[in-house]
């Protein structure tokens, strides 16, 4: 009996729930007061962390849960940014509606990208999505009448219900959407869709035997993940207020994938931690003369070697031991 109890205690959920609740509460409290403490640049960095965390949340559903690698998330992020900017600035949509519509449009693009995913796996899928990313970036570049091509788009501060959103306002909007995205991703990961994605990652044949059509769920995962990236893009556009096709290159896609892996594949909380690590650590290393890039690169190697399940996996192990 006690042996069973030990195994149960060592089970996946034991401990992690309490730890994640406490961590979430702490982070939220700090995040709420941050604008009163930070200067403009600090607030920008924190908003950027939130924006990237949203992308990482969606990418983790796709890569961590469903096991589908994507190297075109920077392009989804870009399509969302441009769609939001164009709908707000040129079509005169309210900002929040533009973000939502931009998300839906990008989700449709994501569903199209999922078509090769039905046939391809692992590295082959990575290369195919990389190709898609390049194509999407090129379309943004060439569709000058809409996107102003290489000239980029300069944006005015957005307004919500007549109230013009300054840096602090955009920060709180980002924080709200991150919390909503976190809650939704957590609900999905523990619901029917999340479970379907996990069994597809394990074995598509086993999924089929359980009446779960792998192809349909890959499309759903890509579309949902693209929606998250696009909403983040809509926030990013108005954070930097000048967007250019070069912002959304493959390098950024690799950065998104790194965030998810560093934070912990298949962990919702890990997405936030991974994004924070990726954005904030290089800022903290700025003081190191000449070599911030070098130190950050080495840190990535160390994290991966010592914590193959990512930072969140480590936190969970420590929480369990405590």
């Amino acid at each position: 009996m006690s042996a069973t109890a030990d195994i149960v205690r060592a089970g996946r959920n034991a401990g992690s729930f309490g730890v994640s609740r406490v961590l979430l509460g702490l982070c939220l409290a700090v995040a709420c007061v941050a604008p009163f403490v930070l200067n403009g640049y600090g607030l920008y960095i924190l908003t950027l962390t939130g924006v990237f965390a949203l992308v990482a949340l969606g990418l983790n559903l796709l890569t961590g849960y469903a096991g589908q690698i994507s190297l075109c998330h920077a392009a989804f992020f870009g399509v969302g940014a441009y769609a939001t900017a164009i709908l707000t600035q040129k079509a005169g949509f309210p900002y929040l509606l533009s973000i939502f519509v931009g998300g839906l449009l990008t989700a449709a693009v994501g569903a199209v990208v999922a078509v090769p995913a039905m046939r391809l796996k692992s590295l082959y899928l990575a290369i195919a999505t990389l190709g898609f990313g390049v194509v999407l970036q090129k379309i943004i570049f060439e569709w000058r009448s809409l996107t102003n091509g290489g000239g980029g788009l300069a944006l005015n501060p957005p307004a919500i219900a007549g109230y013009q959103l300054d840096a602090t306002g955009l920060y709180y909007l980002t924080l709200t959407l991150v919390m909503l995205g976190l809650w939704g991703a957590s609900n999905i990961s523990s619901g029917r869709t999340g479970r379907a994605l996990m069994i597809i990652k394990e074995s598509e044949i086993a999924a089929g035997a359980l009446g779960i059509p792998a192809a349909r769920y890959k499309v759903i995962a890509f579309a949902l993940s693209a929606f998250y990236a696009a909403v983040a893009g809509g926030l990013f556009a108005y954070l930097v207020r000048y967007i250019h096709p070069e912002n959304f290159s493959v390098g950024l896609s690799i950065a998104f994938l790194s965030m998810v892996v560093i934070g912990g594949l298949g962990t919702i909380g890990g997405s936030i931690v991974g994004a924070a690590f990726y954005v904030i650590v290089p800022e903290l290393l700025r003081g190191i003369k000449d070599a911030p890039g070098l130190v950050f690169g080495l840190l990535l190697v160390i994290v991966m070697v010592l914590m193959p399940q990512g930072l969140w996996g480590l936190a969970r192990r420590l929480g369990r031991r405590a």
Binding site: R12, E202, G208, A209, L210
Partner: protein, 254 residues
């Protein structure tokens, strides 16, 4: 009373005849053993029935509906469950969570409701949880519900895989080498469980298995394949006395 019919099924893999004109039927509450030497085509036949492999010729029917043109997920949702030789479970999840995966078809809520975890989603999940409890009870695994699969003995993993099939409201169950890797006590327990499933749910069961004592004590009917052809079909005692079966499957000296 449902009937699963295999009608003149042939499968060619690039010139190799994996199955040739195989026909037999499985009815509700029947337990049929599918036996034959390695390479006889047993797994190919299971794959044909569950929609993983398309027959080159012939068809599989469930009553009047043709199954052999449908994808695996649709075949499964029509009530033909499959348990694989090696259970493919999500090892990081608990027994209960793995069983919940199989409630997929019965949970009908949409993605937006799931995102917002609306009240009807919570209610549906609670109902699914109760069905999982019933299956855990039937499998004798109620105490292990929260155990992660990675900490579960192999025999219990096979039971969880069987439990997933049971959660899908199946009328037929295909089992691929269910006792491989089990100890004597687990084998006896599995036999009792299968007999009870037939009794309680009227399941028709098709079982591929090499262990002759197990097969002859469990099944009321045996189908023998050799080199893709059906060479015998009848009661276990008769089939095992058939000279062709003894020659091809059990060896001359058996």
């Amino acid at each position: 009373m449902a009937r699963l019919s295999i009608e003149d099924v042939s499968v060619d893999f690039g010139g190799i005849h994996a199955l040739r004109d195989v026909s037999f039927a499985l009815e509700s509450s029947a337990i049929v053993g599918l036996i034959g030497p390695n390479g006889a085509g047993k797994s190919t036949l299971l794959n044909c029935i569950s929609g993983i492999t398309r027959p080159t010729k012939g068809r599989v029917r469930l009553d009047d509906a043709v199954l052999s043109t449908l994808p695996p997920a649709t075949v499964a949702s029509r009530g033909v469950g499959r348990v694989f030789q090696h259970p493919e479970l999500v090892v990081d999840l608990s027994v209960r969570e793995n069983l919940q995966i199989a409630c997929h078809r019965s949970l009908r809520y949409g993605l937006a409701s799931e995102f917002l975890k609306l009240p009807h989603v919570r209610a549906a999940e609670r109902a699914a949880g109760r069905r999982v409890d019933e299956v855990l009870d039937r499998l004798g695994l109620l105490d292990s519900g929260e155990v992660a699969i990675r900490n579960l003995p192999y025999g219990h993993r096979k039971l969880v895989d069987l439990g997933r099939a049971l959660l899908m409201d199946i009328s037929f169950l295909l089992l691929d080498e269910p006792i491989a890797g089990l100890n004597d006590a687990e084998v006896a327990r599995l036999r009792d469980l299968l007999l009870r499933l037939r009794e309680d749910l009227g399941l028709g069961i098709l079982v591929v298995e090499h262990n002759m004592p197990f097969v002859s004590r469990l099944c009321d009917h045996l189908v023998v394949l050799d080199l893709g052809q059906l060479i015998a079909n009848g009661a276990p005692a008769d089939v095992l006395r058939d000279p062709r079966v003894m020659a091809s499957y059990l060896g001359e000296d058996a």
